[in-house]
């Protein structure tokens, strides 16, 4: 198949950027989207041009590196699929494809389609863990965890930290990412002691990083390659409100 690409090119963080048009002839429908870009880049290099920079690593939809806005949709048209798992057969011959980086104040562009998503790491730093120093852990079976509970926790734990939720959100909110971790750890017995302190700190960090609030548009859930549900956001809100409003959790005191 033959395609026309409109790709965001920007030589550096502070340099101005613009959409540049490229022709991509002889594309096989069995190629993955990134393999299509590889082919384009190979040609650019041969023509002495600078290839298009984009993040990628595992190419199996699990590392969360790939992060492209394809025709206005993060990770492209295929639901529950990361860019690297998207195949050209989901596009029609002759299509014009616009490719942009994920956009948010918290995701400054590094170059072309590459952005800096360190803000997501800092949200985890703020409390997205269970403080369990190496050593001294009890036998894994001393905790009985109902299957359905673990399964729900796992649904949320699948988050690959790609930031598509932020890219899709009209508010540029990181609620789904944050809520996924709050839900994963908050559902497990191990996660209870820090449950309320965790949510307060992570939400606070979310605000510090200049992510937007959540209007419940639901776009994030649709863009998420792991189909994480906005039910997690409801859980996060509930825990946050419990932590702030109802006494007894002592969370407010712990939060700062």
């Amino acid at each position: 198949m033959k395609l026309t690409l409109r790709v965001w090119r920007q030589s550096g963080p502070s340099a101005p950027g613009r959409l540049v048009q490229y022709e991509a002839p002889a594309i096989s429908p069995d190629m993955s989207f990134l393999e299509m870009l590889d082919v384009v880049n190979e040609r650019l290099i041969e023509e002495g041009e600078v290839p298009i920079a984009f993040d990628h690593d595992c190419r199996e939809g699990i590392c969360g590196s790939c992060s492209l806005m394809i025709n206005g949709i993060p990770h492209g048209p295929m639901p529950g699929t990361a860019t690297c798992q998207l195949h050209m057969r989901s596009f029609s011959d002759g299509a014009v494809i616009t490719i942009e980086p994920f956009r948010a104040r918290a995701f400054p562009v590094v170059r072309d389609l590459v952005v800096n998503r360190g803000a997501l790491d800092r949200i985890i730093q703020a409390g997205g863990y269970i403080d369990s120093p190496t050593g001294g852990a009890p036998d894994g079976n001393t905790l009985l965890i109902p299957k359905d509970r673990v399964d729900t926790a796992m649904d949320a734990a699948q988050c690959i930290g790609c930031g598509a939720c932020v890219a899709a959100c009209p508010n540029g909110s990181a609620s789904l990412f944050t809520a996924a971790k709050v839900t994963h750890l908050g559902l497990l017995p191990q996660g209870q002691p820090e449950r309320y302190r965790r949510v307060l700190r992570m939400v606070a960090q979310m605000d510090i990083e200049h992510f937007g609030g959540c209007t419940l548009y639901g776009e994030c859930q649709d863009a998420c390659p792991k189909l994480i549900s906005i039910d997690t956001i409801t859980r996060m809100n509930r825990d946050f409100l419990k932590a702030t409003l109802s006494s007894g959790h002592g969370a407010v005191a712990q939060s700062d």
């Binding site: 082919v39 199996e60 969360g64 734990a157």
Partner: protein
């Protein structure tokens, strides 16, 4: 150079305890004064960085991705082994030890493997405490599945994303320490050289991949957890960024490289579909629990699978290995697949594929159970191939997956350069000539959480470290060397892209140093590789500059190293005139085509020492004694 394995004395069950007692400790008050560099944020690196920081050391951690959470460990699917015997099926530390030594085809160090089996038990507990959502039974107890090369069910898993969940567990512990200030993280930062001063590893030279700035980080000890080098084959199941650069540059600074030729070819991957293919996708081996592997009995049978009656199918693994059947170890399953394809009985266009059939399992267990067990793998398969594995069988073919070889380390995980420790897939590890499924995650975490934090204190407490500062002439010299190397790559401005060289190298390695090797092929490769390398340095085209994010430049540096490593792999493969595990020499096989070991001459670790760019490396041998597991021809019949 002499290889001192430092294996403690005493009965194998007591070695590790005794050693932990005998090792020197760093006084808690002094830990703060020691800086440790951890290169790599995978299971090995992240768990080490977190644990060292928890102990009080100052830690700096480096990775080339934009976040430590993206390390290649994230892609591990199937599971992690532990000798818990939760299934009451006769498992034990000793059995895991036995299986691993046997699975490694008697080319690993008994004491290390035993320690690994001992620690496996603590790993699961540690991960559960971190909130890793391992699969559970309805009663709330931890679930298990069985995995290739074992007859007991000892593999713990989190759907098909075990590596992801384990890595996130370690990553979160590390982020916690970063928040505390114990760990400083340097993402998008690539190690390009090792700083050795007065014979000790004292730091690394890195390139900031965003600004291109080259700088030196100094410390009291350096830890490499930089993963495997399977990408030397271009097409592999490894992440695109996985590379040998860190360990290769350390090798050139004097660290011995052990068993470079031991590569694992994984039997269950999605077959290649075209020239443009950029990587191969693994279908977790756990699929072999319920899937049956077969090919048509007659050559070139082009009928669709559903039209081939059972009588005309050859379930060759079940036929050849009745007791292990479809769960035969990876090296064996992969070679068996190659054989039937060589006999022209392969399926799919190109004939490079075999069927992995779930029809019976779905009849027996129902679609729901199968979906629960493998749902995401089936989806992945359908997404890539556009075929529905719930209806027809999958097509699979072996692909390069794991490298058992790596930098040589002693019982303390220290390389032949004092102060340079190597953990995870980057070291030559405990897997001998073949790794059993679900044992790399186990090893990476054992190294990072439990072994290194204990052994590194012995080094730090006993080493007399002189004060060095970034102004040290050695640092300047190395930074300049690294900088000129990058400038050189950019200066060539030839005709061919880096990828075209990488592809050619990969093809060459797959043909001559892949699933089956022979002297003539290896000699051929040894003559071709230097030519290719020469052309690379003459004709590669690396656009852009070295003061910006330049992915072509990053690739170029890595491929340049692969072009050198490939030669060492072939050299090692050629010298090892036996077949063992992942290293199959056609000249050395039993009449029924099984690997034929030569314990008399080759029961040793081959550790290669760099002798300069135009001298061939020197071979050192660490003899392997087997006091507990009797040397025997491996049989899975």
């Amino acid at each position: 150079m002499e290889l001192r394995s430092r294996v403690p004395g005493g009965p194998i069950e007591e070695k590790w305890d005794r050693h932990r007692f005998e090792m020197k400790l760093v006084n808690p008050a002094n830990k703060r004064k020691h800086t440790v560099l951890v290169v790599g944020s995978g299971l090995a690196g992240a768990s080490a960085a977190a644990s060292l920081s928890e102990l009080g050391y100052k830690v700096k951690c480096f990775c080339f991705q934009d976040s430590p959470r993206r390390a290649h460990s994230i892609a591990a699917q199937g599971g992690i082994n532990a000798a818990k015997n939760y299934r009451n099926d006769g498992d034990s530390i000793y059995r895991l030890f036995y299986d691993t030594v046997k699975g490694g085809d008697f080319r690993s160090r008994e004491a290390n493997v035993y320690r690994l089996a001992q620690i496996s038990v603590e790993i699961i507990d540690q991960c559960v405490a971190q909130g890793v959502p391992f699969a559970r039974e309805y009663g709330g107890l931890l679930a298990n599945r069985s995995f290739g090369g074992a007859q007991v069910s000892r593999t713990f898993y989190a759907r098909g994303q075990t590596g992801q969940q384990l890595l996130l567990g370690a990553y979160q512990q590390m982020e916690k320490e970063i928040g505390r200030g114990g760990v400083t993280m340097y993402p998008r930062t690539e190690m390009l050289d090792l700083v050795v001063i007065e014979g000790r590893a004292r730091g690394i030279v890195v390139r900031d991949m965003v600004s291109g700035k080259i700088s030196t980080h100094l410390a009291d000890a350096v830890v490499l957890g930089t993963g495997g080098y399977g990408n030397v084959f271009y097409l592999s199941t490894n992440a695109k960024g996985s590379n040998a650069t860190a360990i290769w540059r350390a090798y050139k600074r004097g660290a011995a490289f052990a068993n470079p030729c031991y590569t694992q070819i994984h039997p269950t991957c999605i077959p290649v579909s075209g020239e443009y293919q950029s990587k191969l996708t693994l279908m977790s081996e756990s699929l072999r629990n319920d899937g049956r592997v077969w090919v048509p009995k007659q050559k070139g049978d082009k009928r669709p699978p559903d039209q081939i009656p059972d009588a005309e199918r050859d379930y060759y693994l079940e036929r050849k290995y009745p007791s292990f059947g479809n769960l035969a170890p990876r090296d064996i399953a992969s070679r068996a697949a190659k054989e039937v394809c060589d006999e022209m009985r392969g399926v799919g266009e190109g004939g490079l594929g075999v069927y992995l059939d779930f029809a019976d399992a779905i009849k027996r267990l129902g679609v729901q159970t199968i979906r629960e067990r493998y749902g995401n793998l089936f989806e992945m398969y359908q997404r890539i191939t556009d075929e529905n594995p719930y209806q027809g069988p999958m097509r699979i073919y072996p692909a390069v997956h794991y490298t058992m070889g790596g930098l040589w380390v002693d019982y303390n995980l220290m390389s032949t350069i004092p102060g340079l420790h190597v953990i995870g897939e980057a070291n030559f590890s405990d897997h001998g000539a073949n790794r059993l499924g679900a044992s790399a995650l186990m090893q990476g975490l054992a190294d990072g959480y439990f072994i290194l934090p204990a052994t590194i204190s012995d080094y730090l407490a006993s080493a007399k470290l002189s004060k060095v500062d970034p102004g040290h002439p050695e640092c300047r010299r190395m930074e300049e060397e690294v900088a000129s190397n990058t400038r050189r790559l950019l200066g060539i401005q030839g005709k061919r892209t880096v990828d075209s060289f990488h592809r050619e190298l990969g093809k060459l390695m797959w043909d001559y140093c892949g699933m089956a090797r022979n002297a003539t092929g290896l000699k051929k490769a040894l003559s071709l590789i230097p030519e290719l390398r020469a052309e690379f340095w003459r004709n590669v085209n690396v656009p852009g500059s070295d003061t910006e994010l330049n992915q072509a430049l990053e690739k170029a540096g890595r491929v340049a190293d692969f072009l050198e490593l490939a030669e060492l792999m072939c050299l090692d493969a050629l010298h090892r005139e036996e077949s063992c595990g992942g290293h199959f020499r056609e000249e050395f096989q039993t009449e029924d085509g099984e690997a034929l070991r030569d314990d008399e001459h080759f029961a040793y670790v081959a550790a290669w020492e760099y002798q300069g760019s135009n001298a061939s490396p020197e071979l050192h041998k660490e003899p392997l004694e087997f006091e507990y597991v009797r040397l025997a021809q491996r049989s899975y019949k």
